[in-house]
Symmetry: C2
Subunit: 316 residues, 2 copies
DNA sequence: TATTCTTAATAAGTTTTATCGATAGCTTTT
DNA sequence: AAAAGCTATCGATAAAACTTATTAAGAATA
């Protein structure tokens, strides 16, 4: 049994197809066939059921794949250990970001980060929280930025910042007279909210998503914006809630429509999350330091109440 | 990087000597030299400091060895998974046993076990608790039988039985008149106790060890007995404490010197212990079932108070 | 039903690599 | 100073991993 064989098994299990798996692992299809046969022979089991189309894992195969993934992960961590020792921070790093954080946070730290750690090849992808969790599990993402807490056993979280929500209330709206608003004032029926993202637990729901595209040399991404929501709001379709950072680049005329909450302001907790196996921790540390440092100046609220998909948590 | 290379690194790290490590891994010394050099080159680090005699690990080397052990362990578990699937229980299994359990428990279950699981090649070794813990960590033992609880983070315990202590009190001893004795009666000054083993926490100390040799077809072992202690006691050198199972094969004349404790009788907890990585769990399960089943009939006390090296625990 | 496509297995040949035996070179021991 | 103990290096060899080309089997299509 070799690590290479285990990698091949993982590739075939993932793509359910020897030919595709061969491409992904940069070898020819016969190589995969032979190596996997050899492993099956050595263990005296069948890993794949080749009679099914597409190919399927056998029962033992499923268990073996779990363990194989574990071993391959752990073996990759050896390079991590070496890098850490050398103080080297580099290599490819795949970061997921939820749509409601993407457009505001990314421009704030990205330039800074790639200047500070030029050896890191950042690949950023906009994904929903569910997609992020799935990809952290199967190793397609190294880390992600999402609203927390997630209460997911195998995912660790490092808080980046707490971001208060701000009411965007057009003149026509019933709450426009109130200087500062309260959570109790909110009514789901005269509010505009986006589908994706996290949600107010108690009946008030959801923030956030649209489309927009963006490309650069060092990284790749796909993004969304809040503009549409504000515009719809201006059309008198209701008030909306904006995460604080989104209110910073709104135009002056619209700025007057912003109504802060009385403290404690509802807020979301935004964290850098990663798999508990803690692969590539140096880069994760570097990201955390960079982002937390930069955002610290931008958000200075003190008394907030965290809103999450899971639970309400007091913080100050 | 291959699993084989990691095995080689582990062997050299353990023996601090390429030549010896080569013997243990059944290859020649040049093979080790080259493979380890290759790994060092691939990672661009030095794993060993060859200027020191004997050879030493570098700082990175130490961290790498930890991770290497992890990977090798996890890779061995693959065979476990396959065995489990097939319902196959076999292979070499190294079991450590503390001296005070060896002579009484072993004869009770050994025959039974090797008959039931003939494919398992049991290698039994008598060891102190400290030696057992060390060897469970470095993988030289697969499991062990010892007095618990150990409160060791990386070792799991499965209780086999609770074994009460019985006073062996010669006619000359001050307590001989009492039919049943209490822990409060005990005095360290007129008691004979052995060095090794576990101990009464509150000042009263230690049980257990002598030497004796034993060999058979399916297994290998080295053992000790309690005879000496009883004989010394007969010579008027003080009373002693015997674990219950030891009192079963004492001669009739001496049996009259046995004095049970008033309930709750002090007792020790004897467990099957193994590393938290849970390698070879099928065999561990098999051992547990066999032993617990056999001992159940032999010990029928109901109200006992567990004595351990760590803490006092109530049980009934 | 025949034929075309897809995909994995097999075969044959090449390249790479793991290992060995012999030995050189360095250090420690006697 | 000689001997012993160790690791690195060299050259050779057998094993393995991989490639290209081909076959075989099953599914899709004509």
């Amino acid at each position: 049994m070799t690590i290479t064989q285990l990698r091949y098994v993982l590739a075939v299990a993932e793509h359910q197809n020897f030919t595709k798996a061969a491409e992904k692992t940069f070898v020819t299809q016969p190589t995969l066939s032979m190596q996997i046969q050899k492993l099956e022979e050595e263990l005296a089991i069948l890993i794949f059921d080749r009679s099914k189309k597409p190919i399927e894992l056998t029962e033992v195969g499923k268990k073996l794949v779990q363990q194989a993934r574990n071993i391959v992960n752990e073996s990759e961590r050896i390079q991590d250990i070496v890098d850490q020792q050398k103080g080297y921070i580099g290599g490819e790093f795949k970061l997921g970001v939820i749509p409601t954080v993407m457009p505001t946070l990314l421009p704030m730290f990205l330039h800074n980060f790639i200047k500070k750690y030029p050896k890191v090849k950042l690949k950023i992808e906009e994904l929903t929280t569910e997609a992020i969790i799935e990809r952290l599990h199967d190793g397609h993402l190294d880390a992600a930025i999402a609203a927390t807490p997630l209460q997911n056993e195998s995912i660790k979280e490092r808080v980046l910042y707490y971001e208060p929500f701000v009411g965007y209330i057009p003149p026509s709206h019933r709450l426009n007279q109130k200087k500062k608003i309260d959570v109790a004032d909110l009514d789901i029926d005269d509010m505009l909210l986006l589908e994706d993202g996290h949600c107010f637990r108690d009946g008030i729901v959801n923030l956030c998503k649209t489309q927009k595209s963006y490309d650069e040399d060092h990284f790749q991404l796909e993004s969304g914006s809040f503009e549409t929501l504000v515009k719809l709001s201006n059309e008198g379709l209701g008030m909306t809630l904006l995460p604080y950072l989104h209110t910073l680049d709104i135009n002056d005329k619209e700025k007057s429509n912003l109504h802060f909450f009385n403290e404690p302001s509802p807020a979301r907790e935004v964290s850098l999350i990663y798999h508990k196996s803690e692969l590539k921790m140096q880069i994760i540390e570097a990201l955390h330091t960079t982002i937390a440092g930069i955002v610290k100046g931008a958000i200075t609220f003190q008394n907030v109440e965290i809103i999450s998909p899971i639970a309400k948590i007091k913080s100050d």
